[in-house]
Amino acid sequence: METGYLVLENGDIFEGKRIGANKDALCEVVFNTSMTGYLEIFTDPSYAGQGVTLTYPLIGNYGIITNDAESRKIWIKAVFIHELAEIESNFRAETNLDDYLRENDIPRTNECQY
């Protein structure tokens, strides 16, 4: 797994493992403290062009349920999470978060430590 970096304007650098789409993103970094609803956040147009840090550490637990999307597409430019679930477990899950982000060309840094 390739090492990825989150480099902030003030010079702070956070290291993580990079999975998802293999490209860089230049964006404003914001956070969301919700403990559920990651897909809803990604597809929320108010996050357009931003990179979102999810403060809840376990993400992807219930996979991707496209019906729950807030809009027709992903608006965020990047996502920073602590840990991605190995398996998705929900009766409505269609796919897992990792594949979904890759398909949608969104870079993601896993095991970000904060």
Partner: protein
């Protein structure tokens, strides 16, 4: 709405003794409530029968009654104190039931007393099964197909209608007492019958069994304006079918999508609003894992075990906020103490995972049924906080103190693949280890899910841990593998066991690569706002949030871990008092503990709270960051004492009695030396490792002998052996767990047991009081009735006891607390043991003597001298009151546990009776412990041969008072010969006059049964004792306890006639 100014004087009802289903969480809730009410300038009157609690402390309330928690007594207190209101929803089910009875009978209205918080109608709608169902139907919230029945036949008809299996839940019982799942009609009859008997209102709910659904809980809080938030939601790893108190629980929920999360949240809010609850409330849901179908399982209209857990999991103090709501405040007016900026109307968010695991008492009850169902069996619980679920699970496992520190349970390795697969079908306390073992042997996540119905997500987490084990076992040990193992919660010791690398080498790699524990803060808001309350958990992520800056010297106080038999709430009392005393002395206090139910883990108590396992490595991580001046171990029970050596090796100063001297008190041979130096005798004995050695020693001493492992608490594994075959059984049992220390075999001396707590400053000794135990030696002191001041000890013996205490304190150079147990036989004083720490009796003796024992001990530890304090030295002045501590058991919760008293402690809690004289005090103590004192009726006596002579005087007295005596053949023949008419029970188990018939028909008031040796559950005595437990009839297995009850009978005073005592005036 601001505070209601009409409220001036509030009665707070506590929850009574610790029993299974009602533990320390209500001391935490009650203490928070009392503190808040007092802060608001209200006069607080408190009633609770449990003397080990912090809430019954002098500074917690204005008037404190340690009295039986019965309607009669509470009425007496209301009449004496004239409070204007009652706070009923913080004292568990006990407090709520009493308040409801007072409200429903019209008494409160008559006296003009207002019930604060939720209205009686609201409580009734939540608690009464039928009312609750009707209410849920009216707001369109789904319940499970169910029916309330009051007799067996209609229950059975309904069960047939909805189809088996069904769950049976008795109304108005705590911890689901008497409930269960019935798969067959025979099982149905059995469970339904006992459920009806145990219910206060003779009602049970028969419901469709939905086992396999997800069990989800929401903690909700609502104020009088209708503002409402959910504090936390939690998901049980164990699906529906296992009592939530016996389930492994995670917070927040892990497998719910936002849709499901919000669906249940909305439902919870709708329910609390419909019930018009003002305060905290807990809603339990079952969620079909394959659809959006859900059902409301139950609602608790009060703070609960779950709310204590939610408070600790989030940092949101539910009880404190509930108390403020009760006196009129609304959520938008109450500040969040953690941030100091936000308000109580903000829903907390977590940026970590919380795992709770129950602590079960099965190592105490070898014959007990370990299966888990709707009847709660755990005595306590541990909680862990971590950034990964795996680390949370690992931390919680080692917090349990079961000698297991990973998902490897050694005994499972001997099972064949088939056997281990079979084990998976059992729902018991070992299920997660069995799952891990099956994964290890190649079963898939899917297969395990099929059998257990546990969500695949959780099984995948266990699988991760199993994979890490495998990686550690097979690959080279390097920084990367260690970093990964640490992230997922492995201790160096476990890594060492798996890799066969030496711990020192692992530590070296960790140091070289900066793989160290960093501490993160619990702040209710995922760091959105700055938090001011230092409440920490460890992680192996970067960036340490623990604030190291302070001008003060730091002292670490080690807590006592989960509530278990032998180590209960008393030690939390001591830890909390030590913290308070240290704060007064100007230290920065740091508490380490892992029990979410307790006051010590309230972030308001110490300057810093570390919610961590109490193992050497976890504690060392904290020490490395905090670099304290020293640590105090003598207040946290055996859990803290066990860490002494490790702390010393870390270079931490042990404050108080030194490690060497603690060892001299605990190590058999060193202690013999101590006694020799003091010229004190003890029962002769020896140390052994094997059966052969034990037999040799036992025969040399002569039977009976007392056998016990060293360094244990609550007399675990201790028993009296009468012959060689007993020795064989006992030593084998003890050696099932590898013993680091030898086993002790001592001559059993029958006599009176005396207990002393003492504070020593290195020169002088202060003894708060001498306590006399009513049961003779052989019954564990924690299971004995303890009387202060002594009633039957002459001056000569008392002087000798004081002298010995002084000698031992000096010889062992005790600085702080010590506890000594003596035997008194024919005016000879022997020593049983010395504990170089505070004991179970400290809270009670502090309260009845008015001595701040822990405060004094803490000051002494820091060099103050007793002679410079105002309390004097030697024995403190004798109280005018008699205080009797009586044990309370939870046998009805633990199916097949033997109830006979012996050297191994079995009680879960205690109550206190305080009065001007002995007999009034014992009457109160019996009533508080739930024993009815009969003035007439029938008694069953069945005793072993060697007790027959001894039971005679008691039988005579009872007979002469007009009691009718039933007896088994042998006992009956003996009593007849001695002029006592009895009804002989020719056959124990058959016919109209059989014991079950008599007992179940309620014809027997109490039973006197002394056990023959052996613990086999097939024996008549065992079955009679279990029958008594199931039918809630007192059964005395020690003649001394029965004699004490006779004293109470002779008193003849009723509960109403005995004065209630405000202990602040004692």
């Amino acid at each position: 709405m601001p505070k209601n100014e009409k409220i001036k004087k509030v009665l707070v009802i506590g929850s009574g003794p610790i029993i299974i289903g009602q533990a320390a969480e209500f001391d935490y809730a009650g203490t928070q409530a009392c503190v808040e009410l007092k802060k608001e300038g209200l006069e607080v009157v408190l009633v609770n029968s449990n003397p080990a609690t912090i809430m019954t402390d002098k500074n917690m309330a204005d008037k404190i009654y340690i009295e039986p928690l019965t309607v009669k007594t509470v009425k007496k207190i209301i009449e004496k104190e004239n409070p204007d209101s009652i706070l009923p929803n913080l004292g568990g089910q006990t407090g709520l039931n009493i308040a409801m009875e007072l409200a429903e009978s019209g008494y409160l209205q008559e006296k003009g007393v207002k019930l604060l918080g939720t209205s009686p109608e609201g409580i009734k709608n939540a608690e009464d099964r039928q009312a609750f169902k009707d209410m849920m139907e009216s707001i369109n919230e789904p319940c499970i197909a169910s029916k309330v029945v009051t007799d067996l036949q209609s229950g059975l008809e309904f069960a047939r209608e909805i189809g088996l299996p069904v769950i049976i839940r008795p109304a108005y019982t705590l911890g689901g007492t008497g409930g269960g799942i019935a798969y067959t009609e025979a099982q149905f009859n059995e469970i339904c019958e006992s459920g009806l008997r145990l219910s206060r209102v003779h009602q049970v709910l028969v419901e469709k069994c939905i086992s396999g659904w997800k069990e989800i809980e929401y903690e909700v809080i609502r104020d009088s304006k209708g503002n409402c938030i959910t504090v936390c939601n939690m998901e049980n790893i164990d699906p529906v079918g296992v009592h939530t108190g016996d389930s492994i629980v995670v917070a927040p929920s892990q497998t719910l999508s936002d849709k499901e999360y919000q669906m249940l949240r909305s439902s919870a809010i709708k329910i609390i609003s419909a019930l018009k609850i003002e305060g905290g409330c807990n809603v339990q849901f079952a969620l079909n894992p394959n659809s959006f179908e859900y059902a409301v399982i139950e609602v608790n209209p009060r703070v609960s075990r779950s709310s204590a857990l939610a408070s600790k999991a989030t940092g949101y103090p539910i009880a404190k906020v509930a108390a403020k709501i009760a006196i009129g405040y609304t959520l938008d007016e109450i500040k969040n103490a953690v941030t100091g900026k936000t308000y109580a109307c903000f829903e907390p968010v977590l940026d970590y995972v919380v795992v709770k695991i129950p602590k079960w008492p099965f190592s105490k009850f070898l014959t007990a049924d370990r299966n888990l169902g709707t009847q709660m069996k755990a005595t306590g619980e541990v909680m862990a906080i971590a950034p990964t679920l795996e680390a949370g699970l690992m931390k919680a496992i080692r917090s349990l103190e079961e000698n297991i520190d990973s998902l490897i349970l050694p005994k499972l390795s001997i099972y064949s693949n088939e056997e281990i697969r079979e084990e998976l079908k059992k729902v018991n306390n070992e299920r997660i280890w069995v799952i891990a073992e099956n994964l290890r042997r190649g079963m898939t996540i899917e297969q395990i899910h099929e059998i257990t119905k546990i969500d695949k997500f959780f099984i995948s987490k266990i699988n991760n841990l199993v994979n890490i084990e495998k990686e550690l076992q097979s690959s080279k040990l390097d920084a990367d593998s260690i970093r990964k193992a640490k992230k997922y919660g492995y201790t160096d010791k476990v890594i060492s066991n798996l890799t066969k690398a030496r711990i020192e080498d692992i530590r070296k790699i960790r140091e070289d690569n900066n793989i160290v524990a960093n501490f993160k803060m619990v702040d209710t808001c995922a760091a959105e706002f700055e938090a001011t309350t230092p409440y920490y958990y460890s992680s192996y992520d970067e960036d340490n949030e623990a604030d190291k800056k302070t001008d003060k010297q730091k002292v670490v106080v080690l807590g006592s871990g989960p509530i278990r038999i032998g180590q209960g709430i008393e030690f939390d009392y001591c830890s909390v008092h030590a913290v308070w005393a240290l704060k007064k002395k100007g230290f920065e206090t740091i508490i380490v503990n892992n029990n979410p139910e307790t006051v010590s883990t309230d972030f308001d108590i110490a300057d810093k709270l570390y919610f961590e396992p109490l193992t050497p490595e976890d504690v060392e991580n904290i020490i490395n960051v905090e670099k304290p001046y020293g640590a105090i171990v003598q207040f946290g029970g055996q859990t803290a004492i066990k860490l002494t050596k490790a702390l010393k090796e870390m270079g931490v100063k042990i404050l108080g009695t030194s490690e060497e001297n603690m060892d001299r008190a605990e190590d058999r041979e060193l202690f013999d030396q101590v006694l020799n130096n003091c010229n004190i005798t003890r029962p002769q004995g020896g140390t052994v490792y094997t059966v052969a050695e034990a037999k040799e020693v036992a025969n040399r001493l002569g039977y009976p002998v007392l056998v016990r492992p060293s360094y244990v608490l609550g007399g675990q594994g201790m028993a009296i052996a009468y012959d060689d075959s007993d020795i064989e059984k006992l030593i084998e049992e003890i050696n099932k767990i590898a013993q680091e220390h030898p086993i002790l075999v001592d001559k059993y001396i029958m006599g009176k047991e005396i207990e002393v707590d003492a504070i020593c400053d290195g020169e002088d000794v202060l003894i708060p009081g001498i306590m006399e135990l009513l049961e003779r030696t052989g019954v564990h002191s924690g299971d004995s009735i303890s009387v202060y001041p002594t009633q039957n000890v002459n001056k000569e013996s008392a002087d000798k006891i004081v002298e010995y205490t002084k000698l031992l304190a000096k010889e062992l150079n005790i600085i702080g607390m010590m506890n000594i147990q003596f035997i008194l036989q024919n005016n000879e004083v022997y020593i049983i043991e010395v504990n170089p720490r505070s004991s179970r009796t400290v809270p009670y003796i502090s309260k009845v003597t008015n001595l701040p024992v822990i405060d004094i001990a803490t000051r002494v530890i820091f060099g103050e001298k007793l002679k410079d304090m105002k309390y004097g030295t030697g024995v403190y002045k004798r109280s005018e009151y008699v205080a009797i501590k009586m044990p309370v058991f939870s046998f009805e919760k633990i199916k097949n546990a033997d109830t006979s008293l012996g050297p191994e402690m079995k009680s879960t809690g205690e109550v206190l009776g305080v009065a001007k004289n002995f007999t009034d005090a014992i009457v109160k103590a019996f009533i508080a412990s739930g024993v009815n004192i009969p003035q007439e009726g029938n008694i069953l006596i069945t005793v072993r041969d060697k007790d027959k002579q001894e039971v005679l005087p008691l039988a005579k007295k009872l007979y002469n008072r007009g009691f009718k005596i039933y007896a088994t053949k042998g006992t009956s023949a003996f009593l007849k010969q001695n002029g006592i008419e009895t009804n002989v029970l020719e056959k124990i188990w058959e016919g109209a006059e059989s014991i079950p018939n008599l007992v179940e028909a309620g014809k027997i008031n109490f039973i006197i049964n002394t056990p023959t040796k052996g613990k086999e559950s097939s024996r008549d005595g065992f079955k009679i004792r279990r029958l008594a437990v199931e039918c809630k009839i007192p059964c005395f297995t020690s003649l001394d306890t029965a004699n004490a009850l006779y004293d109470a009978i002779e008193d003849t005073k009723t509960e109403e006639e005995i004065e209630v005592v405000d202990i602040t005036e004692v």
